[in-house]
């Protein structure tokens, strides 16, 4: 058989291929040749063949048949073979396959080889890809080499030890004796790797950290020498002596000085010295300054030093190099909480960064700007942020809008300013505003009583301009429905009142109903607004006509509403004024105010529930208000409607007949029409007339319980009694996920025996975040008139790591207080 072609020749040949297919053909041909060569157990050319295989592997072709050959090369006596063999091992072998363990013995031998370059190869390979088993077997050898006087080997052994410790943390102790005089080395390579090793040990073990604190003076000395020493050509980078070592020492000092006064004091001077003397014209100097700043901010440094650090960051912000600006903003973001005032001084520079071209810089500048907003600078900052909102990329708009709302809420200097700001956001970034801001804004507007006329006027004018941005349109429709009378009567004090007639207003609202731009939710808002105007406007006939037309709308939501409103006009006309009167001021509950804006999928349900609960009045009005809740209140609920049982108690929503004999309420299906009030089961009215559901009324200390705990998904139940009906148990489920991957499309369903009725409200979210970073909550209401023992079957479905998961479980361990 002719000698296999040389590596370079193969590379040249493959590069002449003009198409992918041609290349593939060449590769296949060569692979076949290599395979037969391997079969012949040819020692001479094994090295060459494996090298070629590695090249083809890099191009993306499979090369696993070369794995054993790499092992043979490693075992060879020739240095060339070993070099390529180890390289092949690092590229082709996977620690998850057992075949890599065959290397262990070779590495062991090579670690004790007489030639340091062979030892070096072994150390390098072990330190790069050694599995835990290999590390366990060979840790002793590494430890031995850590004590050698050969600096070439010592530095490699140190980093190899770092890898061993990362793989098998329990072995850390065995390296402790060898660290004794690592820092007395003159050799920079050994110093650098020793500092890395010490850092790793201190990060992993508080005991080690305490033990190594005594090294602080020595580290300070080394650092000082590096700075003060003259030009050393060997380690010089742009006039700075061994920046790599300097940075590593600074990082180790950071770890040692954190939460320790004495150590922090011992390093104060050197930090100040580095901070002031380092040359900043090149990246390398700035790299050292950056590390210094991080260290100063993390240890217990005196305030003067901290101010110095922040000022360095401020200077970074003005640097032409965008990389420097980026790290500055990142660091400032970390320190803005603790050193707020110092960072404030750089506010204008930070705000300028909003105009930067780089996306990452803009994002950081935005986050930082929001963190810096306070009562004093709100007007100026908001101007900049709104300008940013106008011109930024769509990916920012949602976050920016939420941030603006939050800031405005906290620091608005006046109600008018607040409303104006909201208007500005809605008109410029309206389509990006999060859905849950709509109910929050409505609540805000309701509570700014003196601004109603101004608000509705501005919103009306905005609608005339543009009806494409749904959140804006929804808020505007709602306002017009509520305050339309103020609009036509021209009562505005804040600005020039506009002349508008009832017909013009109705034209606009009807326009929304027919427009293609309006979503079904928006249409719902519009129709309800029109209906409300029937008690505020005089053109009732027109409204009656519109409402009756939609009684036969294809859209079920609209049809339902129209039918109900029609009924209002006909049978319940006497109730209409009371039903449609002005909304009272909504109370913000402590648990879920609009401050939750920034959370997506946040407590939408609770904040939407508030409008449903006007203060309890006398009986008839009670009923009337409940109907209002169903009609008006539902407008602000998120799109997923909670399921409500229809009037026949036995029907109990046979939407999903999962479990045969148990009656059941399922997940997010749209509500079938709750029928006319008087025939509603008392359950529903009682439930809704209770004061805010999520406040803790008479929880009567019912202990919580864990209902389900399997595969990392844990579901806890907490209990409350719904006032005033003691037959209703209100259960809140809390789903948490302790695995490392999120559970998405999470749906919780429950079923109860026939003697019970069950109502499942909307969940807070359908993603259970990994590692217990958050919970999904959902409210279940169980009516138990016969006071029977509560039992429940639950069904869970979710997607985890790409695969769907489904599970059924029975919950029988309800505490007796929950159903007695």
């Amino acid at each position: 058989m002719p000698a296999p072609i040389r590596l370079r020749e193969l590379i040249r040949t493959i590069r002449t291929a003009r198409t992918q297919a041609e290349e593939r053909e060449m590769i296949q041909k060569e692979c076949a040749a290599i395979r037969s060569s391997f079969r012949e157990e040819d020692n001479t050319y094994r090295c060459r063949n494996v090298a070629k295989l590695l090249y083809m592997h890099m191009l993306g072709y499979p090369a696993h048949f070369g794995q054993l050959e790499c092992l043979k090369l490693i075992a060879s006596q020739k240095f060339t073979d070993k070099r390529i063999g180890y390289l092949g091992a690092m590229l082709l072998l996977d620690e998850r396959q057992d075949v890599h363990l065959l290397m262990t013995n070779c590495i062991k031998n090579d670690l004790n080889h007489s030639t340091q370059y062979v030892q070096g190869l072994a150390l390098c390979t072990l330190g790069c890809m050694g599995s835990s088993e290999m590390c366990r077997d060979l840790a002793g050898e590494v430890e031995k080499l850590l004590k050698t006087s050969n600096s070439y080997l010592r530095k490699k052994a140190a980093l190899c030890a770092v890898h061993v410790i990362r793989k098998v943390p329990e072995l850390m102790e065995m390296f402790l004796p060898a660290t004794k005089n690592l820092l007395s080395e003159k050799n920079h390579g050994v110093l650098h790797t020793s500092v890395v090793l010490l850092t790793e040990m201190c990060e992993r073990s508080p005991d080690m950290l305490a033990h190594f604190r005594k090294l602080v003076p020595q580290l300070v000395r080394i650092l000082k020498n590096l700075i003060m020493s003259g030009y050393s050509p060997e380690h010089d980078v742009s006039g700075i002596s061994d920046p790599f070592l300097q940075v590593r020492i600074l990082r180790l000092l950071r770890i040692l000085g954190k939460s320790d006064d004495d150590s922090s004091e011992a390093m104060n001077d050197i930090l100040a010295q580095v901070a002031t003397n380092t040359e900043t014209s090149k990246n390398v100097g700035n790299a050292i300054l950056y590390e210094t700043v991080l260290t100063i901010m993390d240890i217990k440094s005196e305030s003067g030093l901290r101010v110095l650090a922040i000022n360095i960051l401020g200077r970074f912000l003005l640097n032409n190099d965008k990389n420097i600006r980026y790290v500055a903003l990142t660091s400032l973001l970390k320190t803005v909480q603790t050193d707020h005032n110092a960072v404030q001084r750089h506010r204008s520079t930070i705000v300028d960064c909003l105009k930067d071209l780089d996306v990452s810089i803009k994002r950081r500048a935005m986050e930082l700007s929001f963190a810096l907003v306070n009562g004093n600078n709100i007007r100026g900052m908001m101007k900049e942020l709104l300008y940013f909102l106008d011109s930024c990329d769509p990916e920012f708009k949602a976050d920016c809008a939420s941030g603006v709302f939050l800031a405005a809420e906290k620091y608005a200097p006046s109600k008018r300013w607040h409303i104006d700001t909201i208007m500005r956001v809605l008109t410029t970034a309206g389509s990006y505003v999060r859905d849950d801001s709509v109910p929050n804004l409505i609540q805000l507007i309701t509570n700014s009583v003196e601004m109603h006329a101004y608000t509705v006027q501005r919103l009306y004018k905005a609608l005339l301009d543009d009806i494409s941005q749904q959140p804006l349109v929804q808020v505007a429709s709602w306002c017009i429905g509520e305050y339309g009378d103020l609009l036509v009567s021209g009562q505005c004090e804040e600005e020039e009142p506009i002349q508008v007639t009832e017909d013009e207003v109705l034209d606009v609202l009807e326009g929304l109903l027919v427009s293609n731009l309006s979503t079904p939710v928006t249409r719902g808002y519009a129709l309800t607004a029109i209906m409300k105007l029937s008690t505020r406007f005089s053109s009732v006939n027109r409204i009656k006509k519109v409402v009756s037309i939609y009684g036969s709308s294809i859209d079920v939501e609209l049809q339902q509403r129209a039918v109900e409103y029609n009924a209002l006009f006909k049978k319940y006309d006497h109730m209409r004024p009371a039903l449609l009167e002005r909304m009272p001021i909504m109370e913000k509950t402590a648990t879920n105010g609009p401050t939750e804006i920034v959370q997506t999928n946040g407590e939408t349900e609770p904040s939407a529930v508030e409008p449903k609960h006007p203060p309890p009045v006398t009986q008839p009005a009670n009923q009337a208000n409940d109907l209002l809740d169903l009609l008006g209140g539902n407008d602000v609920v998120s799109v997923i409607q909670p399921t409500m049982p229809t009037k026949p108690a036995s029907a109990g929503g046979e939407l999903l007949d999962l479990l045969g004999d148990l009656s059941l309420s399922g997940g997010p299906a749209p509500a079938p029409a709750p029928s006319v009030p008087t025939s509603q089961p008392s359950f529903l009215l009682d439930g809704l007339s209770s004061p805010p559901l999520f406040n803790d009324i008479a929880a009567a200390g019912i202990p919580p319980m864990t209902a389900y705990n399997k595969n990392g998904l844990k579901i806890d139940f907490t209990f409350e009694r719904a006032n005033p009906n003691p037959n209703i148990a209100v259960i809140t489920i809390h789903a948490s996920n302790s695995t490392e991957a999120d559970m998405t499309d999470f749906v919780f369903q429950a079923a109860v025996p026939k003697t019970f009725q069950l109502q499942l409200l909307s969940p807070s979210s359908n993603v259970v975040p990994a590692l217990n970073q958050g919970t999904v909550t959902q409210v279940i209401r169980v009516l138990n008139p016969q006071k029977q023992q509560l039992r429940m079957r639950i069904k869970l479905t979710y997607t985890h790591k790409g695969s769907p998961v489904q599970d059924l479980a029975e919950v029988n361990n309800f505490p007796p207080q929950s159903w007695q």
Binding site: M58, L59, G120, L159, G189, E234, H235, V247, S360
Partner: protein
Amino acid sequence: MQFMLLFSRQGKLRLQKWYVPLSDKERKKISRDLVQTILARKPKMCSFLEWRDLKIVYKRYASLYFCCAVEDQDNELITLEIIHRYVELLDKYFGSVCELDIIFNFEKAYFILDEFLLGGEAQETSKKNVLKAIEQADLLQERWPACWHCWSAVVICS
């Protein structure tokens, strides 16, 4: 450092060094996605980005992109210096290095990298020492393929 990738402007991988255990399939996927992401960036953008849950530092030298994935607590600016140092080493070794050198001598590029970094950290901060070690190892390879007992006591570093 978790890994380092070198790739051309057409997205062809010229070197891949992985310091974390991942299967071939996972490596391929990460490489492909990351290369696409970086190639899509405009020249004026900064050298750092957050990608998946990694910090990426990259820099272009002529027709080659040098890209590293570092840990959260790693200093991005010094990583740029690490990349630069590696390029300098290649340059010194090959004499005005260009992409073709790395294509045709990829194994040498790996050897040099392995004398500079170990397990993702710098093992030698002196350019001179790294180059000397490579030189000696090359000599060992060429001159004494079978008999090398003579080299047992060589000590390079001062």
